[in-house]
Amino acid sequence: MICVERLFKRFGSMEVLRGASMSVAKGEVAALIGASGSGKSTFLRCLNGLEMFDAGSVEVSGEKLGGGVGGTAPTALSHLRRRVGMVFQQFNLFPHMSVLQNVMSGPLHVLGLSRGEAAARAEKLLARVGMADFVDRRPGMLSGGQQQRVAIARALANEPDVILFDEPTSALDPKMTGEVLSVMADLAADGQTMLVVSHAMEFVRRTAHRVHVFVQGEIVESGPPAQVFGEGAHALTRELLEH
């Protein structure tokens, strides 16, 4: 499903990614953990072309992304992005659209579904994330947790092969974090392929199939939660989890 090999990326003089590699199988929930600035978010954003990488190779759903100057052609990129959903830390809902219109925007404007089909799909997904009663509200009138659940529905609406979660609960208080994580756990249980950058270790421990530990732009350890959170973990991983 996803195969990344030796990814390099620098912002000016700062090396953010230094040869990070991983692969994710269909139906797998992969968690990316690491300290702030360890490169995990940048890594995630390279997978749908929101960031360009300098060297390495990325293959998502059978499509290869180009690195370096030029990168991938815009049309190929937007084709790829239809199959890769993304959920952001700051939700990034469109404030001028209603909840329903937000969720409809992918099917309607990108996939080319009819307005009726798009609305039906959006309503179904909003019910799935527990937001069926809010279809006509503007995002500005919702709590952070409600907004993030709408954002998840929006990401699901294109029926993507994989969804990228970029610290989806970092901007939320504990109560709202819980409601978002339970939606994500439901998705995982349904077999949705997911990549999750998160600091919510309890969630990662219970839900992830594999955990990848980022330290200074490299993945120092990959394995099932039992291994990464267990006694036999890499020294750097233990150091990270102790803080």
Binding site: G85, F88, H96, V110, R154, A155
Partner: protein, 529 residues
């Protein structure tokens, strides 16, 4: 964000103030009228005594009207020449004082006379019953006639009769200077058969004929003769004999009988000893008609002037019609400004790198030069350039709409740029992540939000544009301010007209202001939630 946009707008307020000044030019004179009448009566018996005590005769004229009356010496632009300059010197010398020129817009000279800033008007002012009822006229100093002029390459028009509509051809367009006797003559002779376009200056009217914009112009013979000998006049041809004889007179304020009598004496003595003739010969203006100068004496008193509610009833409908033109200009120019502004802003923010420098030049040039200059360029200079590529003519209304629209697009572009910058980066990322192309993301996600932020500032701009339409009078578009000027100079019901004009502007702009406030409240509330 919105507040910072509004602050940027204040740079522009200088321009807006200028427009206001034009509108209230008439009102401004009211205060000095009251003051001068008090001071003058206490210190001096009348204006003649004041002139003698001061040692100068201040005469008003408009250099912009050009030769041969009063114009900058081509060899030394700081020095004024013209037959009226020399006439003023002769008259002043007869009164035992020096002549001092006072520059003012030709059509507003009566206001300056009224306010006491000038002693007399001496600038090709024709005697007319209307003027004679408002001011005190001297004996004529020149007998003028009117000359019909067409473009040299125009072989269609060879007499006044050729100006009448013919099958297959539209109405003839005849340019004249606003407020001159030529306007009345052409209207009286051709009526509705021809379209009369009133310009602020003689040169503009003649230029539009050689540029092919207008079909013909009617000018006082002295001007026609003067321009025939200049390179600018080479594209024009005289048609028919001079017509419509009339008199140039000097005007003083009503009641200044002693001053006018002294001036009459000066003109008579300059005529008798040949000084007047020598001046006129020097400028090629002497002709046998002038021998009748001393015998000529127009009636000193004219017909009645409408005041009060009579003036409102008589001139109100004309003003309302002109207000319609003001609205038309606003509602055509603003959409153009919004569209161009948005394209420029998007080009600067998201367009290819090669476009960015030219677009920022576009914005800076339009913001850095006066709207008036841009309008004059589009209407008077552009046709000259277009002529070279074989395009003739330029519609006034189109020129005004384009000028206003393009000028305001620069301000709009800056508003939108600010608004676009205020949209968080995550919005574009979220749209792209859904698989939208950049173009689609702009159209569906970024621009709608930016327009919401920009709306109050844009509506403010609309009100400013609405008032700036008055600048279009520079290219002979008769909108509300221009109509006010025309009427107030030809009727004398200045106070009534100024009140009606201000009332009309307010009636049109107040609903807009209310709308802006409501929008600002709504958008402000939406953001807080």
């Amino acid at each position: 964000m919105v507040r910072s946009i509004c602050m940027r707008r204040s740079v522009r307020s200088g321009n807006r103030f200028l427009t206001g000044a034009a509108l209230f030019r008439g009102l401004r004179t009211l205060v000095p009228i009251l003051l001068t009448s008090v001071t003058a009566s206490s210190a001096f018996a009348d204006r003649l005594d004041e002139v003698r005590a001061r040692g100068t005769l201040v005469w008003g004229g408009d250099e912009e009207g050009g030769g041969p009356y009063v114009y900058p010496d081509p060899a030394n632009p700081r020095r004024l020449v013209g037959f009226e300059v020399e006439l003023a010197e002769v008259i002043a010398a007869e009164l035992g004082v020096r002549a001092e020129f006072h520059q003012a817009d030709w059509n507003t000279l009566p206001n300056f006379l009224e306010s006491g800033e000038i002693d007399v008007i001496l600038n090709g002012y024709e005697w007319s019953p209307q003027r004679a009822s408002l001011m005190l006229a001297s004996r004529p100093y020149y007998i003028y006639e009117l000359q019909l002029l067409v473009a040299k390459r125009n072989s269609q028009i060879n007499s006044w009769e050729d100006l009448l509509p013919r099958p297959g051809a539209g109405q003839a367009k005849i340019g004249v200077m606003q407020g001159t006797a030529a306007v009345g003559y052409v209207r009286g002779r051709l009526g509705d058969a021809a379209r009369i376009i009133e310009y602020d200056g003689n040169t503009n009217a003649m230029q539009q004929v050689s540029a092919g914009v207008d079909d013909a112009t009617v000018q006082d013979l002295p001007i026609a003769v003067f321009y025939r000998n200049l390179p600018q006049g080479s594209g024009l041809r005289f048609v028919g004999e001079p017509v419509g004889r009339g008199y140039y007179v000097i005007f003083a304020k009503n009641g200044e009988t002693r001053l006018i009598e002294a001036i009459n004496g000066a003109i008579e003595s300059a005529f008798r000893d040949g000084r007047l003739r020598r001046i006129y010969e020097k400028y090629g203006l002497w002709n046998p008609t002038q021998d009748g100068l001393l015998a000529a004496r127009p009636e000193p008193r004219g017909d009645v002037v409408l005041r009060g509610w009579d003036a409102v009833a008589a001139y109100g409908p004309v003003l309302i019609e002109a207000a319609g033109t003001t609205l038309l200009l606003s509602f055509l120019a603003m959409p153009l400004a919004v569209l161009l502004g948005l394209l420029v802003a998007l080009g600067r923010m998201y367009g290819p790198a090669v476009l960015r420098a030219p677009l920022s030049v576009y914005v800076e040039v339009l913001r850095g030069t006066p709207l008036m200059m841009q309008l004059l360029f589009i209407y008077f200079v552009l046709p000259e350039l277009l002529k070279m590529v074989g395009i003739h003519g330029m519609n006034r209304l189109a020129a005004a709409v384009i000028g206003l629209g393009v000028n305001y697009s620069a301000y709009e572009a800056e508003i939108y740029r600010g608004a676009l910058q205020a949209i968080p980066r995550g919005q574009m990322e979220a749209a792209l992540a859904l698989g939208m192309t950049r173009r689609k993301a702009l159209r569906l996600v970024i621009v709608p939000q930016a327009l919401r932020i920009a709306l109050p500032a844009v509506t403010n701009d609309f009100i400013a544009l609405f008032k700036d339409t008055s600048i279009c009078s520079a290219i002979a578009v008769i909108e509300l301010t221009k109509q006010y000027n025309i009427l107030s100079n030809s009727t004398g019901a200045r106070l009534e007209l100024a009140a009606m004009t201000a009332g009309l502007y307010l009636a049109m702009s107040y609903p807009l202001s209310v709308m802006v406030r409501r929008l600002e409240r709504q958008l402000g509330g939406e953001r807080e939630k």
